[in-house]
């Protein structure tokens, strides 16, 4: 590590009822790519928000270039040469790329388009300055953010979980850019919970747990497993080896044949002739970068939207393509949609009401058309205790739960209904490692008990860990599913990027699984 650039000493931040940062001390050196690692709720985002001036620390001190540093607002942080790419893009969809970039720069520049062109060709980040940001893909949007930061010529670039929406190839390109930046003298503070990424990219890692620094290490000297154990503070259960392959001759529980559905959203992707089947005892994974038709597929499977051909979706041989969610649930389908708030739960309703909302048909929570409150509360209580959801009571609103906690609640609610077909989108998104392991285990057990499980996820590690076969969705089309034993991450990455056929590519890598 060279001369220190940013030093944090004893940073403390309290929120009502929780101490988000508790005496955090860390040093980021010049030219260093420094990882900030921790479970959800460990305090990573709070910490970088303090560095970036979005929040003020309650205690502790910061130094930048040996000078005391305490930004009251983001503009002050930026004036000191600190730039940040947020977890959720801070872009303006209705404005053009050039306007978005101009907004990110302190001063207006006459030669802005020329500078944009220079930076984007210099770093190989292709951009069309005249396009509306709303029409760009996630990867392109991130390029806009990165270029915007680069034009400020920052001393420190903060990246908060930047890769969650990128293909493996896009991630490689991003890493190349970051490495080059570091070699040119810019320090990078990189937040992620993807351990392999941190091991390939970062030279130093600070691990946070419950707001405190628990470890500081060189991630290249560690294994993904040892890093994960530092994060959660306990030894992980040995990784499940038996993934959800299921016997090949078991009966088909979910069959989707030639499913077509035009998207009803702007910039949405329609489904183009999608066919697959999931057998009893099997977990089928669908990989793909967000925005390639997953949302549409999910809505067709749940019955939110009905395809023209009712026979396109069949459960245990019964066509359900023409039926709504209620009928499908009665036939044994359960769903974990991607959006926890708004889709999987109603934000302002209590937990027990949310439990009743999907549990109603399968759990017998109504009598003569009236809601059986006692049973509904018992069902909710069962979810909370079986899935370790941290709540103060069943009467709290869904929105009062943290993201990971609510996810556990939603997954538990569907699992406990003993579905014969479970469809889950991003089941462990934003859930800490311990809880993710528990959810994975529960999915595997569910499959072993004879259910057909479909997992739509952008997290390849997750799919390789639990799925028996994986298919890739790209631009509304689905590649044929292949057993994980013969697939490589590289091959999937190519299919994700929309290469017509991954079959022709003979990947030299060893199988990932």
């Amino acid at each position: 590590m060279g001369r220190p650039l940013l030093e944090l000493e004893g940073i403390t931040k309290d929120f009502p009822g929780v101490r988000a940062n508790d005496g955090v001390t860390l040093t980021v050196g010049r030219r260093e790519i420094h990882a900030l690692l921790g479970e959800n709720g460990a305090g990573k985002s709070t910490l970088v928000k303090i560095v970036y001036g979005l929040m003020r620390a309650d205690g502790g001190a910061m130094r930048l270039d040996r000078e005391p540093y305490a930004p009251a607002r983001p503009s002050e942080a930026r004036a000191h040469g600190i730039a940040m790419v947020c977890q959720h893009f801070s872009l303006f969809e209705g404005l053009t790329v050039a306007e978005n970039i101009a907004l990110g720069l302190g001063r207006a520049g006459a030669g802005l388009s020329r500078r944009i062109a220079a930076v984007s060709s210099n770093y190989g980040l292709k951009l069309d300055p005249g396009r509306l940001v709303g029409t760009l893909s996630a990867g392109e949007r991130q390029r806009v953010e990165v270029v915007r930061c680069l034009l400020e010529e920052p001393k420190l670039l903060i990246m908060d979980e930047p890769t969650s929406v990128l293909t493996p190839q896009e991630i490689e390109a991003l890493f190349a850019t970051l490495r080059r930046l570091a070699s040119e003298g810019c320090s990078i503070l990189y937040i992620s919970h993807k351990l392999e990424e941190i091991r390939t990219l970062c030279g130093r890692a600070t691990i946070l747990r419950a707001g405190k620094v628990v470890e500081s290490c060189d991630p290249r000297q560690e294994t993904a497993r040892s890093l994960a154990e530092m994060m959660i503070g306990t030894t992980l259960a040995p990784p499940w080896r038996e993934n959800g392959a299921g016997p090949a001759d078991s009966k088909v529980r979910l069959r989707v044949s030639s499913l077509r559905l035009a998207s009803d959203r702007q910039f949405g992707v329609g489904l183009d002739d999608i066919s697959f089947e999931v057998r009893a005892g099997e977990i089928l994974g669908i990989a793909g970068v967000a925005g390639n038709g997953q949302a549409e597929l999910m809505r067709a499977l749940t019955g939110e939207r009905l395809p023209a051909a009712p026979g396109a979706i069949a459960v245990d041989g019964i066509p359900v393509g023409g039926s709504g969610p209620e009928v499908r649930r009665e036939l044994g389908m359960c769903f974990v949609p991607e959006e926890r708030l708004g889709q999987a739960s109603v934000a302002d309703m209590t937990l027990w009401e949310n439990a009743a909302l999907t549990g109603l048909p399968r759990m017998g929570l109504s009598r003569l058309g009236f809601l059986d409150v006692r049973k509904a509360r018992a069902f909710a209580g069962n979810i909370v205790s079986s899935y370790g959801v941290h709540v103060r009571g069943l009467d709290g609103a869904a929105r009062s739960l943290s993201g990971g906690n609510l996810q556990k609640f939603v997954v538990g609610r569907e699992m406990l209904q003993a579905p014969s077909v479970l469809i889950a989108a991003q089941p462990t998104w934003g859930v800490d490692a311990g809880a993710a392991a528990a959810i994975h285990q529960a999915l595997l057990s569910l499959a072993q008990a004879g259910a057909a499980v479909l997992v739509i996820s952008q997290d390849l590690d997750e799919l390789f860990a639990i799925a028996g076969r994986i298919a890739v969705i790209s631009n509304g089309r689905l590649t044929p599913a292949k057993p994980v034993e013969v697939l490589t991450a590289h091959e999937i990455g190519l299919s994700m990027g929309g290469h017509p056929s991954a079959d022709v590519v003979d990947a030299p890598e060893v199988a990932h699984a």
Binding site: P74, S75, L91, F92, G94, L103, Q266, F267
Partner: protein, 312 residues
């Protein structure tokens, strides 16, 4: 002779249309600025009517047109400030606050105007360029207006230019599009919204004053007669673009005047039907922008009407 009378009629209708349209141009352009910054102020009618009585009482008291306009601007801005404190600082619901502002304005102006009915305002200064005003057709149409007509056109041009070409305009649009992102980038969201709201109030006040000083130089209770609502509708109808708002206002002004001349022209259209048009157009546009793609094409501000919390 016959020919000459027809020309006269057409010129009269066009001039009448501009006069009918000018309060709408002013109020709609002001509201457009506020909405571009993400502030939905439904109190336009209230701000206009208070501007009308403020301008009228000032001209009666001082006899000065300039002071009357200043009074209207101050009164409209004060109303907007009240709204801004409620909706931006205290984060009250914008729709409810705007409706309340309209009702408050109607009541306040009625109280204020009690002593003013029956009085009439002195003539408002007109542009007088030697000789030009006497030219046939062009003279009346281009050079014969009162000064506020030219001011309103200049304001539309200024707003259009500022929104599209200046950094402040870009920041206003950014705040209306995504206030969280704007805050993260270091822009003072609430201050920008205050500014835009005050511009909206000032221009609505001017629009109201045009009614009581120029169009019918009298004070009549509730004399705005729904023009604030039409201005609001025009903003949506114009897809938040200043020049289109101007065109929409003139179109609507033309329709209003045509009603008056419809008998002379032998037209048989119900006045009520014509009066419905801007609202119907608004409903159509609002339905259209509820789809995300159309919203982007029409550049409707995404954060319109949403309260902003700085610690998001």
């Amino acid at each position: 002779m016959e020919q000459f009378a027809l020309w006269d009629l057409i010129v009269n209708i066009l001039v009448g249309a501009m006069i009918a349209a000018t309060p709408l141009v002013l109020a709609a352009t002001g509201e457009l600025v506020a909405e571009r910054a993400g502030v939905l102020n439904l109190g336009v009618e209230g701000m206009m009517v208070v501007g009308a009585i403020a301008g009228f009482s000032a001209v009666i008291a001082t006899g000065s047109a300039a002071l009357a306009l200043l009074a209207a601007v101050v009164a409209g801005s004060a109303m907007a400030l009240l709204f801004a404190v409620l909706a931006l600082t205290l984060r009250a619901n914008q729709v409810a606050s705007g409706l309340a502002l309209t009702m408050f304005g109607l009541g306040l102006s009625a109280l204020w105007g009690q002593g003013y009915s029956g009085l009439s305002a002195p003539a408002f200064p007109r542009l007088s360029v030697a000789g030009l005003g006497d030219l046939p057709v062009v003279g009346k149409l281009v050079f014969g207006h009162d000064l506020l007509v030219y001011l309103s056109l200049a304001l539309v041009a200024a707003v259009a230019w500022a929104l599209a070409r200046t950094r402040l305009g870009l920041v206003v649009r950014a705040v209306g599009e995504n206030h969280d992102a704007a805050y993260t980038l270091g822009y003072p969201v609430i201050a920008v919204r205050y500014l835009a709201t005050l511009v909206g109030g000032a221009m609505a006040g001017l629009g109201g004053a045009y009614l009581s000083l120029v169009q019918t130089p009298l004070w009549v209770e509730r004399m705005t007669a729904g023009r604030g609502w039409i201005a609001l509708a025009l903003v949506v109808f114009a897809a938040w673009r200043p020049w289109r708002a101007l065109a929409g206002a003139y179109l609507f002004g033309g329709i209003t005047v045509l009603q008056l001349h419809s008998q002379a022209l032998g037209l048989k259209v119900d006045a009520q039907l014509l009066a419905m048009l801007p609202y119907l157009a608004t409903i159509a546009v609002l339905v259209a922008v509820s789809r995300e793609g159309v919203r982007l094409r029409l550049n409707a501000p995404a954060c319109l009407g949403k309260p902003f919390y700085a610690t998001a």
